[in-house]
Subunit: 197 residues, 4 copies
DNA sequence: ACACACGGGACATCCCGTTCGT
DNA sequence: ACGAACGGGATGTCCCGTGTGT
C-alpha cells in the first residue's frame, strides 16, 4: 500500500489514465505504455503501484464494486417509496457511469470478461435482481399495474439503461443522464398510465 | 466448378469460425490460430481466403451491413402501418443477432471500433434514425400519444433493444427474441395506454 | 511435434544451441536471443519449437533423463560382475557429460533448480542409490573389503565423479574421461588393496 | 562510535542475507529486494553499504578469499606431518563451507563466473595445487605409495571433497563434515593400504 | 492448395540503480 | 541516513503475416 502523499496521488492518476485507456480500447488493446505516457510516467514506474496489467483492471473493478454496492444498498433500504428508490437508483447509475471514468472502464472490462468466459455479467445480474424486486414493490404499492408481469418490466428497465449507456458511450457521454432522465419519464408515464386503464 | 464450390464452403466455414472467435474475444484477442483450429485448417490456409485479420472482420461487417440494410429498407417501405413495421423491425433485429453469429460478431467489432475511434456506431445511428422516423409516423397515425416527444421514445426503444442484446448475450442468447417480444409488449401497452388516457 | 525433416533438424540445432547457452550461463542468465543467434534464427522462430524458456530446459532434462535411465538400467542388469558394471557406469557417465552438451546443460539446470527449491537433485540421488547397491554387490563378491561400510564408499565415488565433472567443466571438458579413468584406477587399486591386507 | 558499530552490524547482516540469497538462487536470480526484505531493510538502504549488486558479490568473494587463504597458509607450513596437514585442510574446508554461509555463497558465485567466462575456478586451482604438493610430501614421507602418480590422487581428493560439497548442499549441509570425515577415512585407508602391498 | 516453419515486431514483465522527500 | 517512488532498459512472451516444401 502506498504510504506517501505523492504516491497516493500518483496511484490515483494511474488509475484514471488506465480507466480512459481501458474504456477506449478494452483490456487486450490497452497499452501500458500509453497509460504511462498519459501521465508522464514510465512503464517501470507503473510497476511500483500495480504488479501487472490484470491488477490494474482489478483495481478498477474494485472501485466499481464499491460504488455500485452503496447504490444498491441505498435502493434496498426502506426509507422511501419503491418508485422513488427505483428512479434514484437508475439516475445514480447513469450519473456514475457518465461521470466516473473508472466505473465506465470497469463496466466494459467486466462485460468483456463475461463474454470471454461465457458467463453472465455479475454486476448486471445484481442490478437486475434489485430492479426486479423494486418493480414488484412498486406494483404492490399500487403505483404500477400489478397485472403486468414484473420480470419483463425489469428486463426492459435494465436493458434500456445499460443500452443507453452503450449507445451513449459512443455518442459522447455528456448527455447520458439527460437522456436517461427523459427515458425514465417515458417509462414512468406509460407504466403509470397502464394503471389508469 | 466443384473446386469453387468447396472453396465457397470453406470460405463460409472460416467466416463462421471467425464470428465465434471475434464474438467471444473481441478483435484484439481473437486468435487466427484458434479460428483455423476450430474448422481443422491451418493458418496458412486462411490466408488463401482472407488477406489478413482485418479483412476477416471486414467480411463480417459486410455481412451485417447487407442483413441490416434489407431490414431497414423493409421498415422504410409503406406497405404496412408504421406500428407494425416498427414491431417487425425490432423483432427481426432480435432474431438476426440471436441466430446469426456473424451479425453478432460484427456488431461487437463495430462497437469496439467506434469506441476506439471515439465515434458513434454507424449502425446504431442508422437504426435510431429509422426508429425515430417510425415513432413519428406512429404518433401521426394516432396509435401513440403525439404529445410525447418522439426522440426520447426512440432513445428508449433503441437502448432497450440493444441493451437486451448485450445483457442477453452473456446470459445465453437463446431467449433473446422471447424477452424482446415481452419487452415490446410492455412498451406497446404503455405507449398505447398513454393514448387512451 | 515437428513433422517435417527440416523442422527436426532445426529442433535439434535449437536444442544444442540452448545446451551451450544454459551450460555456460545457467537458466536465469541464458538469453533466448543468443540461442537464436547461435543458429541464425530469430526469437520468434524458436516459439514454433518451444513454447517458452522453461520448455527448452524441460526438453534438455528429458534428454538427460533418457540417457541416464539406459545407463542405470544397464548397471542394474546381472550380465557382468558388479565391479565391472560399476566401472562401466562411471566411465559412461563421464563420457556422457563430456561429450553430450545437452546432458551437461541439463545437469547444471537440475542442480540449480534443486538449490533454488531446497531439495536434493533427483538424478544424483538415483545414481547414488545404484552405486551404493553395486558397492554392496562388489563387497559380497569378494572384490572389495566387506568390513568397510558401503555408504561412505558410495559417497566417495559419487562425490568424486560429479566433483570431477564440476572441476573439469571449468578446466575444459576434453580431459574429463581421462582424469576420471585415472581416478578410477586409484580407487580400484586401493579398494582392492584393502582386501589384500 | 555507536553509529559505526550499528553500521558494521547492518553491514554484516546485509552480507549474510545476500549470502543466503546468492547461495539459493545464484547471481542472476538473486533479488536485491528479497535481500533487503530478509533483514527488514529497503533496497535504498542497501546502497548505503554497497554500491551495486556486483559489489555485494565481491564482498562475499573477499570474505571467502580471506578464509581460504589462512587455511592454505596453514597447510603450507611445516609444523606437522604432511598427511596431518592434508587431513586438516580438507576437514577445515568442509567445516568452512558447511558453517559459513558467505563462503558457501561465494563459492557458488565463483563457479558461476568461471563457467560464464570459460576459465577455471581460481580457488579450486589453488586448492588443487596445495593438495598436489601435500600428496607428494606424503608420498615422500613414506605414508603413501610413491609409485602412484600424485596428480590423479590430488584430482581424486579435490573432486571428492568439492563434489561432496555440491551433492551435500542439496541434501542438507548439516552432515557435510561427517560425510567428509567418513570419506577421508576411506581414502586414507586405501592409500595407506596401497603402501602395504 | 494446403501445411509447416519461419521472420519480425510489439508488448508485458521485471528488476537494477537513482532521486526525491522525510 | 533512511525509505519510498521513479527512470530506464533488457528480456521473455506472443502472434500476425510470409515463405518454402509437399
Amino acid at each position: 500500500l502506498p504510504k506517501q502523499a505523492r504516491a497516493l496521488r500518483t496511484y490515483d492518476r494511474v488509475l484514471d489514465a488506465a480507466a480512459y485507456e481501458f474504456a477506449q480500447y478494452g483490456y487486450a488493446s490497452a497499452n501500458l505504455q500509453n497509460i504511462a505516457d498519459r501521465i508522464g510516467l514510465t512503464k517501470g514506474a507503473l510497476y511500483g503501484h500495480f504488479s501487472n496489467k490484470e491488477d490494474l483492471a482489478a483495481a478498477l473493478a474494485g472501485h466499481l464494486e464499491g460504488a455500485v454496492q452503496s447504490l444498491l444498498e441505498e435502493a434496498g433500504s426502506t426509507g422511501a417509496p419503491a418508485l422513488e428508490r427505483l428512479r434514484s437508483l437508475l439516475l445514480a447509475l447513469a450519473v456514475l457511469f457518465q461521470s466516473d471514468a473508472r466505473a465506465h472502464a470497469a463496466l466494459r472490462l467486466a462485460i468483456e470478461a463475461a463474454q470471454a468466459a461465457g458467463t453472465p455479467v455479475p454486476l448486471l445480474d445484481r442490478v437486475h435482481a434489485i430492479v426486479l424486486s423494486l418493480v414488484g414493490e412498486v406494483q404492490r404499492e399500487g403505483s404500477w399495474d400489478s397485472s403486468v408481469a414484473s420480470r419483463p418490466v425489469a428486463d426492459l428497465i435494465v436493458a434500456a439503461f445499460f443500452g443507453a449507456y452503450w449507445a451513449g458511450s459512443a455518442a459522447g457521454r455528456t448527455e447520458l443522464s439527460g437522456r436517461v432522465g427523459a427515458m425514465w419519464n417515458i417509462l414512468a408515464l406509460v407504466l403509470r398510465g397502464a394503471v389508469g386503464r
